[in-house]
């Protein structure tokens, strides 16, 4: 009998098709667990074989993530899908898309940028330069960030 690596969940959210190796960064971006994770059981599977090659999967039980919460992860996992599960059935499914304004998720790689000044009351902020391939630039210094996943706060 084929062993199931991930048990189906009754209620909650499944983030599927995450770029392999990025599941933990996805959780970091979503700040889960933490205040928003509550007491949910979270399962993480990495490098699992899927239809289109390897992928990571994250399952969060008893919590339905809103699209605007999850879209942020498109920065590092542009092919991820969000599945809302109710009573073991997929009730809603959508692909993530990068928000136009990316605030407080990625830090600017330019050490001379004002957003890296420790005492100024601002959050790092990026705007989308192109969606495919994904290129983002700092709202303040306008430098493009070379490695987005490296800049995740």
């Amino acid at each position: 009998m084929k062993e199931l690596k991930v048990q189906p969940i009754k209620n909650g959210t499944v983030i599927d098709h995450i770029t392999p190796g990025c599941a933990l960064k996805v959780l970091k971006i979503l700040r889960i667990p933490g205040d928003t994770g509550g007491g949910s059981i979270i399962s993480v599977v990495m490098n699992v074989e899927g239809g289109q090659g390897k992928k990571d999967i994250v399952k969060i039980e008893n919590r339905e993530l809103k699209a605007h919460e999850v879209d942020k992860i498109a920065l590092i996992a542009p092919n991820a899908t969000i599945n809302i599960i109710r009573d073991y059935e997929v009730r809603d499914k959508h692909r993530v898309s990068v928000p136009d304004d990316i605030v407080g998720i990625v830090e600017c790689a330019n050490p001379s940028c004002i957003s890296n000044a420790s005492n100024e009351p601002i959050q790092p902020r990026f705007t989308v330069k192109s969606r495919d391939p994904l290129r983002i630039k700092c709202f303040y210094c306008e430098r493009e960030i070379e490695d987005i996943s490296d800049g995740i706060i």
């Binding site: 001379s112 004002i114 000044a117 306008e142």
Partner: protein
């Protein structure tokens, strides 16, 4: 076109039409900038001039511009002795200063600082240079100079020469010239060539671009030679610097091979890049260019303050 209350942080905040409007207002300001007419456009208004980094031309020409418009200037020329040295944030400094003035002009060593100041200030903020970032008023005065000296902007073949990698003025200027569809030649040692993202942006606007590593053979057809200073500290080996600095010097011998009506521009200060014997030739546009900073800044001040449409 609406300028009242606007921030001027980057040349990219302006459309081609808006740039042309600023240059046309600047042209109207020339007699007052020379002192041959008097202007009272900014009577009773105060400009805060916050220079967190030393500057001669930008700071003085902004002050001269405001004085020529009969306005007043408050501020500082270096951060020493200000509340920033006591650890105050730039955001707090801006929020405090804006209650004393009608507009803010600032230079700050950190990139993006002017954009941040503009977010916090209700009054207009004009960027006088943010580190290696933007310097839009320099760019506008460069465009004004090209337009005045050559009749228009777009129809010119412009060579940008020297340190194209770190020189902030050439990045904004290359972008703006591309907006006007000028032909561009980037002449620089390989390690100081124009950054990829600037080249890409110019290409997006349909500019025709060529790259050269030597002046010889590259300047014969150009209308404008825009020279920038190659800084010694960019070269780990002093001998390498000497070699490069020598190659990129404009002198009268070189000018003889250029077109008779070509002009030489430089944001100044210059060191070795332009030989003093060029000063006496009609091609030397750099001191006229320095003067043009005054009418251009008068135009910007008046437009963002809403005293000129």
């Amino acid at each position: 076109m609406h300028f009242t209350g606007r921030d001027i942080v980057s040349i990219k905040d302006l459309t081609r039409e808006e740039i042309l409007h600023i240059l046309s207002v600047a042209e109207d300001m020339v007699p007052a900038a020379r002192g041959s007419e008097t202007s009272t456009l900014m009577t009773g208004k105060i400009m805060a001039s916050l220079f967190f980094e030393p500057s001669t031309r930008t700071r003085l020409s902004f002050a001269a511009a405001m004085e020529r418009l009969d306005g007043r200037v408050i501020g500082f020329a270096r951060p020493g002795g200000t509340s920033l040295q006591k650890g105050e944030t730039l955001a707090d400094t801006i929020r405090t200063v804006e209650s004393y003035c009608d507009l803010i002009v600032m230079r700050h060593p950190q990139e993006g600082s002017a954009r941040m100041a503009a977010e916090f200030a209700e009054v207009p903020v004009i960027n006088g240079g943010d580190g290696a970032g933007h310097h839009p008023t320099q760019c506008l005065l460069d465009l004004f100079t090209i337009q005045k000296e050559r009749g228009d902007i777009g129809g010119n073949r412009v060579a940008l020469i020297g340190d194209l990698k770190y020189g902030r003025t050439v990045h904004s200027l290359a972008y703006a010239l591309a907006l006007f569809k000028a032909d561009l030649t980037f002449i620089a040692p390989e390690q100081l060539q124009m950054p990829r993202e600037v080249v890409e942006e110019c290409e997006e606007h349909g500019a025709s671009i060529s790259f050269e590593t030597e002046l010889n053979g590259a300047i014969e057809d150009v209308d404008v030679m825009y020279v920038t200073r190659i800084q010694k500290e960019r070269f780990p080996d002093p001998e390498e610097y000497k070699k490069v600095a020598g190659i990129y010097t404009i002198d009268t011998d070189l000018l003889e091979r250029a077109q008779s009506d070509a002009i030489v521009m430089h944001p100044l200060p210059r060191v070795y890049e332009i030989s003093p014997d060029v000063d006496e030739t009609p091609a030397a546009a750099y001191f006229r260019q320095a003067f043009n900073g005054v009418p251009v800044r008068m135009a910007l001040i008046s437009l963002v303050a809403g005293v000129v449409e």
